[in-house]
């Protein structure tokens, strides 16, 4: 490898080579992401869903964070409506991806349908890495299609295996779900503000647990993000303000937060 031709004779990879590399990357992302479909399937059936319900989530909902949130709320004894709400709130970011991707992907017909269904963290990320429209498209479709294939395949494997677990606690599956959530959260904790929001949300969820019906504490904690998002950013004190204010004052702060947030609601 080190004795390859000198750079002067190869001015850089050709367009076709770059696209091939992107497609290969998409395949490896698909396999790696798909593999944790095993944990989704197993946790879903251990949480009380049947195999078909787990597979509808993987095939139609097809967005990992929301799927884990749904089964997390159901497994924790929460209501089905609370589970659906948590899943939908976590899926808001996919709308954002669509806004970003719209100019570079084909619209209308089957492809218009497929591009929407395959819009997830991984496909949006690989598309964002491309510099030309061709590269963005190649990245989006490669990551989207391969993740879809492997995610559903391994969800089924996990769901079939999870069915035979009589006592999920003895297998540590409740701790596995907590591990899955922290692993999904981890890459997002890149700023002090993100850490503060995560900690404050965890605090709100725990404090409201004895008072609210199961599933709702998670939604109450979502207000932390709304409040933090409405606060002016880049203030050195923002860290303390979020942690100090959001938890005890969740109710009073709810109203102004909702009104200010309306432009978002109106736009969709």
């Amino acid at each position: 490898m080190t004795t390859a031709s000198p750079p002067a004779s190869t001015p850089g990879p050709t367009t076709a080579e770059r696209l091939r590399t992107i497609r290969r990357t998409g395949l490896s992302i698909g396999v790696a992401t798909g593999l944790y479909g095993i944990s989704f399937g197993a946790l879903a059936t251990a949480s009380g869903l049947d195999v078909w319900q787990a597979m509808v989530l993987s095939a139609v909902m097809f967005t990992g964070g929301s799927q884990f949130a749904f089964i997390g709320v159901v497994g924790g004894g929460g209501s089905a409506i609370g589970a659906a709400l948590a899943a939908v709130l976590l899926g808001i970011r996919n709308t954002l991806y669509g806004l970003i991707l719209a100019p570079s992907l084909p619209r209308g017909g089957f492809r218009g349908f497929a591009r929407a269904q395959l819009t997830i963290d991984e496909s949006a990320a690989l598309a964002a890495g491309g510099t030309t429209t061709a590269e963005k498209r190649a990245g989006f479709w490669a990551a989207g299609v391969w993740v879809y294939v492997f995610w559903n395949l391994f969800s089924l494997v996990g769901a079939l295996a999870g069915q035979h677990v009589a006592d999920p606690g003895a297998w540590g599956l409740d701790a596995a779900a907590a591990g899955a959530f922290i692993a999904l959260l981890w890459p997002r904790l890149r700023s002090g503000e993100a850490v503060a929001v995560a900690v404050a949300a965890a605090f709100v969820a725990l404090v409201t647990t004895p008072a609210l019906p199961s599933g709702l504490p998670v939604l109450a904690a979502a207000l932390v993000a709304v409040v933090a998002g409405l606060l002016p950013s880049r203030r050195p004190l923002v860290h303390h303000q979020i942690e100090g204010d959001a938890a005890p004052d969740t109710e009073p702060e709810e109203e102004p937060a909702r009104d200010e947030g309306r432009p978002e609601g109106g736009a969709r």
Binding site: Y36, Q53, A69, Y97, G98, A116
Partner: protein, 104 residues
């Protein structure tokens, strides 16, 4: 049809609609800084809350048990840059091990 089935189907269809709507909306929505800040922070808050409830609650009670040790193992593995599946399995093994030993 059970409540659970209705929730599975409704949440799945809504999730698809969320993806679809992004492609139809005018692109200038993105330029509203508050909108993009909230959409960035929302998954962080929800996942933080889910970590807490999944680790330390049971029904409407705060319960500290082997799950906390499992979470600790997950954090350690994440610090070591372990892949997702290793983190999840590691958390399960630690919690299951402690319970098998009767320590938690």
């Amino acid at each position: 049809m059970s409540m659970l089935w209705i929730a599975v189907i409704a949440a799945s269809v809504l999730s698809f609609a969320q993806k679809w709507v992004g492609y139809q909306a005018p692109p200038d929505v993105l330029e509203r800084p508050r909108v993009s800040r909230i959409t960035t922070l929302l998954p962080i808050a929800l996942l933080g809350a889910l970590v807490a409830t999944q680790t330390a609650t049971s029904g409407s009670e705060i319960v500290l048990d082997a799950r906390l040790a499992g979470l600790g193992a997950a954090v350690m593995l994440l610090c070591l840059r372990a892949p997702f599946l290793v983190v999840v399995v590691g958390a399960a093994v630690v919690a299951a091990g402690l319970r098998a030993l009767g320590w938690a």
